[in-house]
């Protein structure tokens, strides 16, 4: 019995469709706020399994067949790191959360004074180190396809290159759909993580299934298997000390430094407590996945024909035994291993590329105006998508150019060695306050150069200029510069040789650079923040000087975080300061937290630069430097107490200032109130009296009579309206109001109110999203309509755009709904925003007749009675009002 190639393709496609479905459901659940089960510690643990790529799934058996027990070092290293989470991982995760780190490049850049040079360096290193690895995954998928085709009927000839291309394209699609769906402030991707977790289960299950089959199905039991192992050529292998230690160290370091591992370990981490569960659960996963590697290798060597590729034993043993369904399961396991690695790596790399390369270039080319006016969010998403495509294309090209020849494990170790060049900067940055930017740059550059010279470029052979002559005689004929025997120390394994030299020289350059340079204030501040993250993980950065308009910052933040999130953030910040509305005081504290919030989307360096452009100076204040200088716990304690007091004082002062301003404004208004009422009543009465006297005393033509009685009538109506409004407001303010609560559909309410407000098409263009409005809710419909009519007729009256537009946006927020009314006029100046809801607060340049400025005051009272709010929403371009209303009206008023 043979297995058709097409059936295999169909299975793979069905599996991919299933993954899409899983990711989609997870995203939906997360969007509905049911993300708790998505974020269990076990999902976190399973997502860490992106460490186990196709290199593990297929390559580990091949590795064991060639070098025996050596393969376990690749899994023992990470085991030690995660069991020792109390040392490093706990700190990294805390820093990642406190500083809202988006990638390993962001962490390094942020630690060393938000230096974008470092961000770019680490990004380049990551791209160069990861591309071969992606190529490796593509190769493994194509090889597994080919393995099936070769045992099949041979009719379907597999085109390896086009298979690789399709796989790369499919992975790019998946990653773009679920990796750049939104610019989540925390850079978390629920859909991706869930799919990765599912794939983790599939690959473990597949490998264990093959292992069980091999041990009990082929060998015939444990003792037979043990005998087979001891008889196979694996038994002849010996443990070279340098390799055993070197590879364990290498895999441990790579576990922390690989961009994809950093992504799942730190960036996607939802809860620090998950690390403690992973500390035992992930080693268990690694143990299970390595458990059957040696038995499969040993049995494979004994039963498979000589010369068959041990890298594919996992697949070819079941096939040779006629176990087609097991082989398909195994194929899916390998497929899962390859795809999960590629997806996470592509996300991690695209975040780095867009945050550290594309955004800085774009920002500097646009100048400061872009921060406020340009659509940063859009640019960022496009940059991410293009980066994902580019990363996968690079991987594919590497696969094509390298010819897919070398043994799988070789590329893996070369890649690992490149990526771990970040280790000295990472560990130094986290544990040593004296580490500086200059040191980090020198270390990285030196380490990278040594790695390229001793390992990476030689892997290309003569095509990269590393022909036999150079390898044998060294650069320029200096034998101490032989790429694989620096300082004429020969006999070491090339990987261990490269690792040893690059790590030593990297670390030395890092330390010498750090000691001999002097850090900038920002670096020192960040250094203290990172190293002492458990003592005070509260603030970072530093802005003083210019007082930016809160509104400018809000406008900018909306571009990056999206309108909703930015508004919520500003509103919460204002409330924390004891203020109402959407514009908080621009305190250093507020700027710190805003920068961190933005950093979660665009990286620390970019966020710092963007805020810097608006705020002006980006010097570090004396107060900030105090935090650096405060070496002792007592000083920290003292300053934090002072800080708490000063925060309290600032808050009280801000509240008092607001209250005072309001009182002054109110008392002026109270004074003006009587004369206002007098004025509003006397004006129509003047016309009425004058014309009635004219009518009484004079002989008038019929036309004139009609005209003047008409004026009297209109003015009498105006008077009535005014009295109605006054009484209405009086009733509302005294709370003696009966609400007529009923159920209605918001869409209908809006329809009705819009036509009642005279918002015809030729007067005002209305933009609505009717699907969002279509839901029932319970409130006093007539009162709500009154509010909407008031807002809309104000727009009709006051919107000064050439073609007035009104956008109505409805959003659900749990138990309440918000309705935004945003027009395209010039809006209301900030000085007036606070008073428009007060009585008689007509704007100074009104062109109105017949409006006494009571409308918005009445609206505010009504919304209060309905258990909701009406607020002015600044920074929307035009005048904007937001109504917030509970969906089920609780009878507050009564």
């Amino acid at each position: 019995m043979t297995l058709g190639f097409n059936i295999l393709v169909a299975t793979a496609l069905a599996y991919v469709a299933f993954l899409f479905f899983v990711a989609f459901v997870a995203e939906r659940r997360a969007a509905d706020g049911q993300s708790r089960w998505l974020r269990s510690p076990y999902i976190y643990t399973l997502s860490l399994s992106v460490y186990c790529t196709a290199w593990t799934f297929y390559g580990a058996v091949g590795y064991a067949a060639r070098s025996g027990l050596e393969y376990v070092t690749i899994y023992l290293g990470p085991t030690i790191v995660i069991i020792g989470w109390w040392w490093v991982l706990r700190k990294l995760v805390r820093i990642g959360r406190a500083q809202r780190v988006t990638s390993i490049a962001d962490l390094i850049s942020s630690r060393f004074g938000k230096s974008n040079t470092l961000g770019v360096l680490v990004t380049l290193l990551a791209v160069i180190g990861t591309t071969p690895y992606i190529a490796l995954q593509l190769q493994s998928v194509t090889l597994s396809f080919a393995a099936f085709a070769s045992v099949g009927d041979g009719t379907a000839e597999v085109d390896l290159n086009s298979t690789a291309l399709w796989v790369a394209a499919g992975l790019a699609l998946f990653t773009i759909v679920f990796g750049t769906r939104n610019l989540d402030a925390n850079e978390r991707h629920h859909g991706v993580v869930m799919a990765i977790a599912v794939e983790a289960v599939v690959k473990l299950f597949a490998l264990v299934a093959v292992g069980i089959f091999v041990v009990w199905g082929v060998a015939g039991g444990i003792s037979e298997t043990v005998a087979a192992i001891d008889q196979s050529k694996i038994a002849a292998w010996q443990v070279p000390t340098s390799k055993w230690i070197g590879l364990t160290f290498l895999s441990a370091a790579a576990f922390l430094c690989l961009p994809r591992m950093f992504q799942v370990l730190v960036v996607e981490n939802a809860d620090e407590a998950h690390v403690s569960t992973a500390s035992w659960a992930f080693p268990l996963y690694l143990l299970l996945i390595s458990l059957f590697v040696v038995p499969i290798a040993a049995i494979g060597l004994s039963i498979m024909p000589a010369g068959s590729n041990p890298d594919l034993f996992v697949l070819t043993i079941p096939l040779s035994q006629g176990q087609n369904s097991l082989a398909v399961l195994s194929f899916l396991g390998g497929f899962s291993s390859a795809t999960s690695m590629v997806i996470v790596a592509a996300i991690a790399l695209s975040t780095m590329v867009s945050n550290h390369i594309v955004m800085p270039i774009w920002l500097s080319s646009q100048g400061s105006s872009a921060v406020v006016s340009g659509d940063v969010r859009y640019v960022l998403i496009i940059a991410r998508r293009v980066s994902i495509g580019a990363v996968l294309l690079l991987g594919y090209l590497y696969y094509r150019l390298s010819g897919g020849g070398s043994a799988l494990a070789a590329i893996g170790l070369i890649s690992f060695t490149g990526v771990v060049q970040v280790l000295p900067a990472l560990m130094g940055g986290v544990f040593w306050r004296g580490a500086t930017r200059v040191g980090a740059i020198s270390g990285l550059v030196v380490g990278f150069a040594v790695w390229a010279y001793t390992l990476f470029l030689p892997s290309f052979g003569a095509s990269a200029g590393f022909g036999p002559d150079l390898m044998a005689n060294g650069l320029l004929g200096w034998s101490w510069l032989r790429p694989q025997a620096l300082m004429s120390i020969s006999g070491l394994d090339p990987v261990i040789h490269a690792l040893l030299w690059s790590m030593i020289l990297n670390t030395v350059a890092f330390i010498v650079g750090s000691i001999s340079s002097f850090p900038t204030p920002t670096e020192r501040l960040q250094g203290a923040q990172f190293v002492n993250v458990f003592d005070h993980s509260t603030r970072a950065g530093g802005f003083t000087g210019g007082a930016p308009e809160a509104e400018d910052l809000l406008v900018m933040s909306q571009r990056i975080l999206g309108g909703r999130d930015a508004q919520n953030f500003f509103h919460a910040a204002a409330r924390k300061q004891g203020k109402d509305g959407y514009l908080p005081e621009i305190t250093p504290d507020f700027l710190f937290s805003l920068e961190r919030q933005l950093g979660g989307s665009v990286g620390a360096a970019t966020a710092h630069a963007m805020i810097g452009q608006i705020v002006g100076g980006n010097a570090v204040s004396v107060h900030d430097l105090m935090a650096v200088a405060d070496e002792t716990a007592q000083m920290m304690e003292y300053s934090s107490r002072l800080e708490a007091q000063s925060v309290e004082l600032t808050r009280t002062a801000s509240q008092l200032r607001d209250a005072n301003e309001k009182l002054t404004a109110l008392s002026v208004q109270k004074d003006a109130f009587l004369s206002q009422i007098s004025h509003e009543l006397r004006t129509p009465m003047t016309s009425i009296r004058a014309f009635s006297e004219i009518l009484r005393e004079t002989d008038l033509s019929t036309d004139e009579k009609e005209k003047y009685t008409g004026i009297i009538h209109a003015e009498a109506q105006r008077l009535t309206r005014l009295l109605d409004d006054l009484l209405d407001l009086g009733v509302l303010e005294n709370g003696k109001v009966n609400l007529n609560v009923q159920s209605a559909n918001l869409e209908n309410v809006l329809d009705h109110a819009l036509s009642a407000a005279g918002a015809d098409r030729d007067v005002l263009i209305i933009k609505r999203n009717r699907t969002k409005e279509d839901f029932p809710f319970v409130t006093d419909i007539d009162r709500l309509s009154q509010v909407i009519i008031n807002i809309v007729s104000n727009t009709v009256k006051y919107c000064d755009a050439d073609r007035p537009e009104l956008r109505i946006a409805v959003h659900h927020m749990g138990q309440s709904v918000s309705i935004d009314f945003i027009d395209n006029g010039t809006g209301i100046p900030k000085t007036q925003q606070d008073v428009i809801f007060e009585k008689f607060s007509r704007l100074s340049d009104h062109k109105s007749a017949g409006s006494a400025g009571l409308g918005l005051a009445i609206c505010r009272e009504i919304m209060l009675k309905l258990g909701g709010t009406i607020r002015y929403l600044p920074g929307q371009g035009g005048a904007a009002f937001r109504l917030v209303l509970p969906i089920e009206h609780a009878l507050v008023a009564q």
């Binding site: 085991t79 020792g84 001891d230 569960t277 035992w280 080693p283 268990l284 143990l287 040696v294 003592d535």
Partner: protein, 88 residues
């Protein structure tokens, strides 16, 4: 006594003391693991200390299992909220 974590008190309550020693254990556990993992290097290839491949395999996975169990116990104990521990 230690309401304020920033000023370390001189004497700790029994529960806090126990907790600190557990943290020490969590820090030392991977060091212990490294030593166990390096052990096979002492066996040598031939002579009286030599092991069969299956024997070495059993040793490594055995060590692995022990490390996992230790980590499990430490994680469970350390994850327990501090309050609860004080009440005991």
């Amino acid at each position: 006594m230690d309401d304020d974590p920033k000023l370390p008190p001189v004497f700790l309550e029994r529960a806090s003391y126990r907790r600190r020693r557990l943290r020490d254990a969590a820090r030392l556990w991977p060091v212990f693991g490294v030593i166990l993992i390096l052990f096979p290097l002492l066996w040598g290839q031939s002579g009286e200390n030599a092991r069969t491949t299956s024997g070495a395999l059993a040793y490594i996975f055995g060590v692995w299992g022990v490390l996992i169990c230790g980590a499990l116990i430490l994680a469970r104990v350390l994850a327990r909220p501090e309050k609860e521990e004080r009440d005991q």
